[in-house]
């Protein structure tokens, strides 16, 4: 008996599953759930946008459009029958059979017989056409006659504004990063870094307001153009917005170059600028490319500033003084007006899917480039 007691006592001391152990395990599970939350949210974002938008891509209707009427006329359908079925014009059916039944209901099964083929095969009407979605410059989702969903002008708008912004931001932010990272020292360097960080914190709606109320009259006055809300305005604003972030990341990349590189070059008799251009910048090139990529991503996704500063008119720009419209701004301006579940509403979510995929690719490549650096 005594032996058994002592065995169980030993077991109890060996068994660490007391309250603290259980709490420890519970916490481990909880923080793991929190840890994967970022993945859950990213997947959630994709799923929910796709859920709302995919209906637009896959949706197919059957309706008597103008082309169907023309075909029926070609097939010598009598005038009175044509007139009778015009009541169905624009009405949408989910299957071709429903449409056929509706036509038969009006003009009779016998009369509809010869036109069965046309009605079933030609009445297919799809709001989303892959080709026109990407190549048509016309975005007219609220048109009463025939809504058109072409994103070419929006993509060109976004690209032109982002492109101009990068032309401004890349040289300045890389120059600033080199100055802060390689030339400035001590307090001056700390001060500049903090200043750049503060600049990055200015909200985008304030930038949009600056474009609207300060840059707009300035551009009108300087260049003598009728409207100051254009590619130039939004490009400058976006450039000023993206530059601090790019500066910070580029400066980090320069800082990551080991000091022994610099010392070795100095020992060879290289001057400061030779060290920077022949040693430090080439060694940090991956990080600098990543900084530029993240700046592009930021420009692509910026919403409020481009909504307020581009002029928001659908246009294929021919000069930097043309107003344009960006993809993000289109969603922001139109989502409030589009009825939930309508084609227009779904088309905006489809734009969202496109934006999500583009920025995902940009972030992924920036990450891969940066990871490549860390492995080296």
């Amino acid at each position: 008996m005594g032996q058994a007691d002592s065995t169980s006592a030993t077991c109890n001391t060996d068994d660490r599953r007391n309250l603290a152990w259980f709490i420890d395990k519970a916490v481990q599970v909880l923080v793991f759930i929190a840890g994967i939350s970022a993945i859950v949210f990213i997947i959630g974002i994709f799923v929910f946008i796709t859920k709302e938008g995919v209906g637009f891509i896959l949706k197919s209707n059957y309706a008597l459009s103008e082309s169907v009427f023309n075909l029926l006329e070609d097939q010598k359908m009598p005038e009175d029958q044509l007139d009778a079925i015009t009541v169905l014009e624009g009405k949408k059916f989910s299957t071709a059979e429903d449409l056929l039944k509706a036509v038969e209901g009006i003009i009779g099964v016998e009369a509809a017989g010869p036109y069965k083929e046309v009605l079933i095969e030609k009445s297919h009407d799809q709001p989303f056409h892959v080709k026109s979605f990407f190549t048509s410059p016309k975005w007219a989702p609220t048109s009463e006659i025939k809504p058109v969903y072409g994103t070419l002008a929006l993509m060109v708008g976004t690209a032109s504004v982002t492109g101009l912004a990068m032309l401004i931001a890349i040289p300045f932010s890389l120059g600033a990063a080199i100055y802060i990272g390689e030339f400035a020292t001590g307090r001056k360097r700390e001060f500049l870094k903090i200043l750049v960080e503060l600049l990055a914190a200015i909200p985008s709606v304030v930038w949009g307001f600056v474009g609207l109320s300060m840059l707009n009259p300035l551009i009108i006055k300087l260049f003598n153009v009728p409207i100051g809300l254009n590619v130039l305005n939004a490009g400058v604003i976006l450039g000023l917005m993206a530059a601090p972030i790019m500066t910070t990341i580029a400066e980090d990349a320069l800082k990551a170059v080991p000091d022994r590189y610099r010392e070795a070059a100095e020992a060879m008799g290289a001057t400061r600028w030779q060290i920077i251009f022949k040693v430090v910048v080439p060694a940090a090139r991956h990080g600098l490319v990543a900084a530029v990529l993240l700046g592009v991503g930021r420009g692509f996704g910026e919403t409020m500033a481009v909504l307020m500063a581009t002029g928001h008119s659908i246009n294929l720009p021919t000069s930097i003084f043309d107003s344009v419209r960006a993809m993000t701004a289109t969603i922001a301006a139109e989502l409030g007006e589009a009825a939930v579940g309508s084609d227009h509403y779904r088309a905006l979510f489809t734009l969202g899917i496109l934006l999500f995929l583009i920025t995902f690719m940009i972030n992924l490549s920036a990450d891969l480039i940066l990871r490549g650096v860390r492995k080296e």
């Binding site: 420890d24 481990q28 923080v31 929190a34 993945i39 600033a176 700390e190 600049l199 001057t271 993000t328």
Partner: protein, 289 residues
């Protein structure tokens, strides 16, 4: 023998030129923003006073104050913090204390980077699809704050993870040797030693959240509401959206009024940021290890 050769002098001249060039570039980056801020402060400062801050907008938002928008932003930020701070800190604890360096952790990191990189309007679409429609919160503070919270989650995770990792390994090892469990070590040693760094990140998040416009536009912020929100299921006004509305949507707004709103908004954001930076600099000076 060590006299400066012609080459040396030329090199030094080139270096000087480059130095000045880069200094100019840095200056040109900062100067326009400084001018913009000065104009905002000058034009906006003339409007801002106690009555402006504490009264309702009147006459179709063409005069009066910004009180409901100010309170609305406080609501939105608070609810967003309630959601994202515990989640973000827990996620950072997992990444810093539990996660191994493997493909799974890399995917989590990639997700965090992407969460920060997804355009704000896409977050807004997500908020509408998920919180407003699917979970049936309607356009409410809850839906808007959840959207904001998810959007700014990476800020909390990244800054908390950094400050957790700054706690030396020896602290943890000493605690484990005393027989403490992993959680006891985190709770009693790691968190108290990094709490100030975590706070810095939270202040930074407050400033980010307060300035966001697109994510709240369709999820919970209204153009104009005369009354203050009573619960998280009400709509509210917000500073950022208010600036957008009176700058673009309302005719006949006196010129200086939007400047006043912009000034208050930017003062809020920059104060928070400066606070966070000052806190960080102070901590760096005080750190014992």
């Amino acid at each position: 023998m060590f006299d400066a050769s012609a080459l040396n002098i030329r090199n030094r001249k080139v270096e000087g030129l480059f130095r000045i060039l880069f200094m100019l570039m840095t200056g040109l980056l900062i100067l326009p923003v400084a001018i913009i801020l000065a104009v905002l402060a000058w034009k906006g400062g003339s409007v801002v006073n106690m009555t402006f801050l504490f009264t309702n907008p009147t006459e179709g938002m063409t005069s009066g104050g910004i009180f409901p928008a100010l309170i609305g932003t406080v609501w939105l930020v608070s609810v967003a913090l309630l959601f994202s701070v515990p989640l973000g800190v827990a996620a950072a604890i997992y990444l810093s204390e539990y996660a191994r360096d493997n493909w799974f952790t890399r995917i989590i990191n990639l997700a965090i980077i992407n969460l920060a990189g997804v355009p704000s309007i896409v977050h807004a679409l997500f908020g509408v699809g998920a919180f407003v429609l699917f979970f049936r919160f309607g356009t409410s503070i809850l839906a808007a704050s959840l959207t904001l919270g998810i959007m700014t989650l990476p800020v909390v995770i990244v800054s908390t993870r950094e400050s957790l990792q700054a706690v030396p390994m020896a602290f943890r090892e000493a605690c484990w040797n005393m027989g403490a469990t992993k959680w006891q070590t985190i709770w009693k040693i790691v968190l108290p030693n990094s709490i100030s760094g975590i706070l810095t990140g939270i202040i930074l998040e407050v400033s980010r959240t307060a300035g966001e416009t697109a994510p709240v536009m369709f999820t919970g912020a209204a153009f104009f509401l005369p009354q203050l929100p009573q619960s998280i299921f009400d709509q509210t006004m917000a500073m950022s959206l208010h600036l957008f509305v009176i700058a673009t949507q309302v005719p006949g707004v006196p010129e200086n009024l939007p400047y006043g709103v912009a000034f208050v908004l930017i003062a809020m954001v920059l104060t928070m940021n400066s606070l966070s930076i000052a806190f960080r600099v102070y901590l760096r000076g005080r750190k014992k290890w």
